[in-house]
Amino acid sequence: MAPVNDMDMLAHRPAAAQPAAAASVRQRIEVRDITKVFPLHGEDLVAVEKVSFSIREGEFVALLGPSGCGKSTILNMIAGLITITGGAAYLDGRSVAYGKVDPQVGYVFQRDTVFPWRTVRRNIGYGLELSRLAKAEREARVLEVIRQAGLKGFEDAYPLALSGGMRQRVALMRTLIMQPQILLMDEPFGALDTHTKLEMHKFLLEIWEHERQTVLFVTHDLSEALTLSDRIILLSARPGRLKEDFEVPFPRPRDAIRLRESREYSELFAKVWHSLGDEFAKTKAE
């Protein structure tokens, strides 16, 4: 697969995209009229249609929508993992090219992508190992992160011996240890049970409220979006279009469990749920 030249992609829609002008607030992630068309049985399936949004530095944004609405597709276009059919995506004002991975971006996958042939220690240390960091410093940082992730005692365990939650913590720490400024997360807790998921929310909140990376978090779980994010971008059912943009004004630091008992939470939940419900209904009607 040859990387697609950015100009080729723009050629589809010459008027569509202009790089972000120097704005007063730094836009870390920006998408402009982004569109994705998949060929399916000789027909064109529009998965994402002209979606535009931008994310400020240090903002935690959840991309929410019913399944099949193209949330992950948008994320993967921003990450450069798939080609962009129309429009453009920018990371720090630089346009994204397919096949080019931005080193300051961390990506956490929906599927378990921990390397099964490496121990916990060597999974988390993978990126540092590649960067040729001195072994002593690497080991020290890895051990610190292992402690932080509550994986002490499992340093030399292989992933197959760990639970799903532990494996996802390894995957998360493997990314975070590289200190990416932008984090793209594709339903990272989608495969976990409710209890483990809550644990992971607490864990992620603790880290994020300290580090304040710019995060784009894809999910179909409204409570997850409300618990974690500053803003929820709601997509419509396929083809994915931008439907609504909700501010999530809950104060930080947040308590993942207590938050859910508050009145403000219930009110916002009901509001978004109503809007999301329409989209679920549409998905069902198809």
Partner: protein, 289 residues
């Protein structure tokens, strides 16, 4: 008695019964001829006691009168290298050629498998040639290989290599193609360049597949060498077997067969041990054998 002990006792008992039938079965013919098949004739299958005697002689442990040579200074070594060679020199020749055939076959199989596994284009170009060559029975190639490389070691190594290469190649190819795309992407987001992706993702992912092919590869290497020795050679266990056939010395043939069996078992166990160590992360390798 535990289940394990019971199994071992049964195994040993079976061995004794089989050896006893082999040794004395033919003698029963005088009393109960109807129960003893002609196949038990020592002319066809020899006898454990005869085989043991021939083993001691061929291995230079004893001379034809039954005197031990080990004790006598220098006689053992003289016997090992005497004349057309002893069991030792034949075994060594077979082992050496098996080793090289295995090594070169595995090396080239992994190399080409990885290359074609990563390049769709190359895989498409080479596919018909590989399929065509692989469907050719390799034994049929041996006379040609001997014409090309002579009666010496090289022809045996090449024969083994043509067998080993394909087993390892196909497994490495499949293993490389089956590498998880998300593992590759994860590595790239963590800063891996193309070379690092190869070494840290492709190689370890494909390793399980490669290893699955190494046990049959060892056996194939041995088969290749023996077949090569059958068809034309100066030394080796295959030659011992073929000569024993020509002179109807079944005991000699049995000695060579047993040595081959031991070699086969030791090599396979060795490969499994390496596999167990390198694939520790796969839990089931601890349990299967």
């Amino acid at each position: 008695m535990s289940k394990g002990t019971f199994i071992n006792v049964c195994r040993f008992g079976l061995l004794l019964v089989l050896l006893a039938i082999w040794e004395w079965g033919w003698d029963l013919r005088k009393h109960v001829s109807w129960i003893v098949p002609t196949l038990l004739d020592p002319y066809f299958i020899s006898k454990p006691s005869l085989i043991w005697t021939r083993f001691l002689e061929m291995g230079c442990f004893a001379n034809t009168r039954g005197d031990w040579l080990i004790n006598i200074d220098g006689t053992f070594m003289k016997c090992v290298y005497a004349g057309k060679g002893s069991l030792w020199t034949h075994t060594l020749a077979t082992l050496k050629n098996t080793f090289w055939g295995f090594l070169v076959g595995v090396g080239s199989g992994i190399g080409v498998g990885m290359l074609l596994g990563r390049s769709e284009m190359l895989a498409k170009i080479f596919e018909p040639y590989i399929v065509a060559f692989n469907s050719l029975p390799r034994v049929a190639l041996v006379p040609l290989i001997i014409i090309m490389f002579g009666l010496g070691d090289v022809s045996k190594i090449v024969t083994a290599l043509t067998l080993v290469f394909f087993v390892v190649f196909f497994n490495t190819f499949e293993g490389t193609r089956g590498v998880d795309r998300d593992h590759i992407n994860a590595a790239r987001f963590l800063g891996a360049n193309a070379w690092q992706v190869t070494w840290t993702i492709y190689v370890p992912s494909a390793l399980a597949w490669v290893f699955a092919s190494l046990t049959p590869a060892v056996s194939f290497a041995l088969i290749g060498v023996i077949v090569g020795e059958f068809i034309g050679s100066e030394r080796g266990l295959g030659k011992v077997i073929i000569e024993a056939e020509a002179t109807l010395q079944t005991a000699d043939m049995m000695v060579a067969l047993f040595v081959l069996m031991v070699i086969g078992v030791v090599l396979v166990l060795g490969v499994r041990e390496v596999q167990r160590r390198l694939l520790r992360w796969q839990r089931h390798h601890a349990e299967t054998f």
